[in-house]
């Protein structure tokens, strides 16, 4: 008798449904991803006329993307690997790529929610309005920016097996990127750090986002940051996927 394997599309939709249910059951993680960007927009209200709307919005989205990629994705992958949840799925007729693609798709949903939340708070509270083209381009660039941090998260779970070490590493990376990125960009840590931040995952993602909100200001420097971001994605994801193990034993 011929063995029938389930359709990949059926399997993928089933995984997606379960991962969505997991995401929305875990409200604390969703709130943490949205909280810091919203706090930034609220606390910077008085400074927005000087710094400009795109600067504030791009900072808020960048920090939200870091939280999604480093905290949401990485910690959930590390936990599920440690608990044997992936192993249970892998003994079913499920291709490994479908498990990961479903997880990444869920993070894309989170990226969309974050970007939308930042736009709404920016518009309602800080009166920041963009052109229709700016809004659309920012959504697209937010996905690329999100990919940078998701691939960084993949790098961490690829190189580190212990879930507690992954947890500590992602929190430290998130905190360092946020503090060094924000203060370094303002020049508070010196010109060399400012230059370093410019080409770092923090700076390149933020610059892309700011330029996408004001497309007329898109220049060669912005294009270079897009290429650098793509490079980060390829390198981080390449190493992270190559070294990834489905279990911690």
């Amino acid at each position: 008798m011929e063995t029938v394997i389930p359709k990949t599309s059926t399997v993928f939709i089933t995984l997606l449904r379960a991962d969505l249910a997991t995401l929305f059951s875990n409200r604390r993680s969703v709130i943490i991803s949205l909280l810091v960007p919203v706090i930034i927009l609220i606390s910077w209200k008085g400074m927005i006329p000087q710094m400009g709307g795109p600067f504030a919005l791009s900072t808020a989205i960048t920090i939200g993307l870091m939280a999604i990629g480093l905290m949401g994705y990485t910690i959930s992958i590390s936990r599920d690997r440690d608990k044997g949840i992936f192993q249970r799925l892998r003994v079913a007729p499920v291709p490994g790529w479908a498990i990961m693609a479903s997880r990444i798709s869920i993070q894309l949903v989170m990226i969309m929610i974050l970007t939308l939340a930042v736009f709404i708070v920016g518009f309602e509270y800080d009166k920041i309005a963009l052109s229709a083209q700016g809004y659309l381009l920012t959504f697209a660039v937010a996905i690329l920016g999100g990919a940078v941090y998701l691939s960084l998260g993949q790098l961490i779970v690829g190189l580190v097996k212990n879930p507690e070490t992954v947890n500590a590493t992602t929190r430290l990376t998130y905190f360092l990127f946020m503090m060094v990125g924000m203060f370094g960009e303002m020049g508070a840590l010196g010109p060399q750090v400012k230059q370093g931040v410019h080409w770092s995952p923090y700076g390149s993602v933020k610059l892309m986002l700011a330029a996408s909100m004001d497309p007329v200001k898109w220049n060669n420097d912005t294009t270079a940051t897009v290429l650098v971001s793509l490079g980060y994605v390829i390198i981080f994801a390449g190493i992270g996927i190559k070294n990834f193990k489905w279990n911690t034993k």
């Binding site: 379960a18 997991t22 608990k83 044997g84 249970r88």
Partner: protein, 260 residues
Amino acid sequence: MAIEDDKYILQVEGLYVNYGNFVAVNNVKFEVLKGEIFGLLGPNGAGKTSTLSAIEGLLKFKNGTIIVDGQDVQKKPLHARASMGVQLQSTSFQPELNVVQILQLFSGVYGVPMSKDQIKGTLKDINLEDAATKKFGQLSGGQQQRVSLVIATIHNPRLVLLDEPTTGLDPQSRRQLWERIEAIREKGHAVLLTTHSMEEAEAVCDRIAIIDHGRVIAIDTPQSLIDKHRDEPEVIAVSRRGKVTLEDVFIALTGSAVRA
């Protein structure tokens, strides 16, 4: 190997698994007949779980062949997995999902989607209708085993693999699980289980293989193994109360030293 030989549901031949320099499984060979309950016994670290993991497709092996229902697990892994139902040693599901959501997930990934009513009916069959909205972690050990076993057989597989299924269960739950394993066989499925319990092996297995240091050292029915070895001095030396049991044979064959 006779892949077309239709009396076997599982054929393992020349299996070799190593972790660096450590050889976990060395030239293991055995077959499981259709409709048979087959036990894989061995001390800690003997190679039982590595053998099972290789069959399940969780680890790649360099040498050997594993055929599940005519499908080579290395060449056609998805087909082989679709023919198998698996209960892992420590099964865990997403802690955010409740029992209904977990059953929906696994019925979907095995290609047999179930409606909520069908799931309720299934839960009723295993006396878990009140646990439908509970998270997996909120269930007792026995309840978790029942859910895991339902998931392992949700797609009506021809071979069910159970890795130490009764570990941590109280006697009532253990007996209930044995009945469920018998029921699986009565439906025409074959079962391959690993266990440390000789009582369990004697109670439910048609045949057993004893594995030690990565090699199969004996393979037969429990009673035949006892009969074959009952007069050996090593067996008599370890037997207690004058009656030779499967455990005596097992200890005589694998040694009395405690394994890590």
